[in-house]
């Protein structure tokens, strides 16, 4: 093998400054870019820091009370409860708090070191969450006062739509993936058609249609609130994407696994549930988390059917006469919330990918060759 050592000719200089200089000389274009960016950061960054922190106003009762040279965070502070819960009645907000805090707690648990029963708590927690959250928010049972879904809003609604659609779409996605891998042509065709239909449509159009068309499809007299209609659309949309992810996972499970399960007397569904799906889903866990990130960002589209999710409620608050002209503050706040959620999730997915790679390189190859 005639490989020449690539790094052999450039021994690293001893000091950090020397190293920096060496890199700079080695790549003049990059250095220029960096210098340019540093200049930009200086000229733009200072005013931004001034605006966001130095001259910012945190407490005021309206726009006039804010320093015009700085950010008017007082707007966000004043509206925070509304941005979090929408028009959810104040006396019942504790219910919304529980619904909002449960997912981060579960996520923390997911990142925590293993202990017996942890996995079970997680699975049960995530599966029950949407139903429990619905009961908790809607009320009307267990002595909870009913709160119509028109009053839900803000971050609360974002969570309900995002997590609800994700969890409900999961079983549908698995069935679709199994259907698409079926030997029976009719079932395969139906599953494929369904998946491709929902994947090919813009979510905006799906939301319009679910609000306009779904009521037409229902028997006369049956009416769903807008939130439910929108959630049905988003759930099916997300199911189609998740199904494709799950299909990738199914393909990664070797045929020997289902053979071994068959030979032990497992039936089809037991085999899928205990042997095939756990492996398939584990193999594509990063892809699943990425789908969840996309879905979370896509929940903002519910704006077009008049639901007040976090983005829309902030957007609506911008036209409050007492707080006019604060679009930047509002959008920065929404951006911070979404960015931290999505970035956090993407780090989880990246860590899973790294772990999977490490495991893969450790596993000795003992898989059955295709017959």
């Amino acid at each position: 093998m005639a490989t020449t050592s690539v790094s052999g000719n450039s021994r690293a200089p001893a000091t950090a400054a020397g190293r920096l200089l060496a890199t700079a000389v080695a790549n003049p274009f990059g250095t220029l870019v960096v210098l340019g960016l540093a200049y930009l950061a200086w000229t733009l960054g200072l005013p931004i820091v001034d605006w966001a922190f130095v001259n910012a106003t945190w407490v005021a009762s309206d726009r006039a009370g804010c320093n015009p040279d700085g950010a008017c965070w007082a707007f966000i502070v004043n509206r925070l409860p509304q941005f979090a819960f929408g028009f959810y009645p104040e006396a019942e907000r504790w219910r919304a708090w529980i619904v909002l805090l449960a997912p981060p707690l579960l996520l923390l648990l997911a990142m925590a070191p293993d202990f017996p029963g942890r996995r079970r708590i997680l699975v049960v927690g995530f599966c029950l969450y949407p139903i429990a959250a619905f009961v908790m928010l809607a009320g009307g049972v267990l002595g909870l006062a009913p709160v119509p879904s028109e009053k839900w809003g803000g971050l609360l609604l974002t969570m309900v739509v995002g997590l609800g659609a994700f969890v409900f779409s999961f079983p549908i996605a698995i069935l679709l993936a199994i259907g698409r891998a079926s030997k029976l042509p009719a079932i395969r065709l139906l599953a494929t058609g369904f998946i491709e239909f929902w994947r090919g449509m813009p979510l905006i159009a799906i939301l319009f249609m679910s609000v306009i068309m779904l009521p037409l499809f229902l028997p006369p007299g049956v009416e769903f609130p807008r939130l439910t209609l929108a959630m049905i659309g988003i759930t099916l949309y997300s199911a189609a994407f998740l199904a494709e992810v799950a299909r990738g996972g199914l393909q990664s499970v070797s045929r020997g696994q289902s053979e071994a399960a068959n030979a032990l007397g497992f039936g089809f569904w037991a085999m899928q549930g205990y042997i095939v799906m756990p492996q398939a889903l584990r193999a594509v866990l990063p892809g699943i988390v990425n789908s969840a990130i996309s879905l979370l960002k896509d929940t903002t589209y519910v704006m077009v059917v008049g639901l007040f999710d976090l983005l829309n409620i902030v957007n609506a608050a911008l036209s409050d006469p007492a707080w006019l002209g604060l679009a930047t503050e509002g959008y920065v706040f929404v951006g911070l919330v979404f960015w931290s959620l999505c970035f956090g999730l993407s780090q989880v997915s990246a860590r899973m990918e790294r772990d999977a790679e490490r495991n893969q390189s450790r596993t000795p190859s003992g898989e059955r060759k295709a017959p």
């Binding site: 070797s254 020997g256 696994q257 053979e259 071994a260 068959n262 030979a263 032990l264 007397g265 497992f266 039936g267 089809f268 037991a270 205990y274 042997i275 756990p278 492996q279 584990r282 495991n359 450790r362 596993t363 000795p364 003992g366 898989e367 059955r368 060759k369």
Partner: protein, 247 residues
Amino acid sequence: MTANASISVRSLSKWYGSWRALRDVSMDIEGGTCTVLCGPSGSGKSTLLRCLNGLEEWQEGDVVIGGVPVGYRAGELRRLRRDVGMVFQSFNLFPHLSVLDNVTLAPRIVRRRGRRESEQHAMQLLERVGVGQHAAKLPSALSGGQQQRVAIARALAMRPSILLFDEPTSALDPESVKEVLDVMIDLARSGTTMAVVTHEMGFARRVAGRVVFMDKGSIVETGEPDEFFDCPCTDRAKAFLGNIARN
């Protein structure tokens, strides 16, 4: 079904598309005995073995296990397979489950046994095949020989009346081969009905009641191991044995 069921194969024929993989195969395996299947690659050994627990569908003939013909409805097959254990060349352990869970899963799910009971039994079996101390590990942390012994324990956990082995040692290094063969010899001596596809002559001579030699989808010759290995009657068997001896 008896504890150590007999197997009877009656003029079995199987086609893959237009390719005939089994031609009119008939054979009997008495309860409690060990039969070794051998023959050149592609001769249909695996296919025959996989017919015995209904992993393959055949077109003609019958397989009778413990006096009951193997049916073709899903439920019948599932019931049959509970009683016929199978060990694969490539182990096919479930990589996402610990060794112990690999062994207990089928009894718990398929036989609906309690967890405590299944685990006790599984530990006994794991001790018996000599991997008791690895029960909590994942299969990927074990050597090939250890994995294959776990696979045997997994099959045994269903308390099968018949065990099928498809080249259980051919993916292993020589040392592991011995570990696995020792377990199999132990099983055969304890009177389990076994059908084993293998080219391990030593194993066949020590425990097999009979050797069945296949070629091109048919059974060419059967006999006692010593007779067969020392003076095969047919030319094809002679050539085959000559080949193994040389390799």
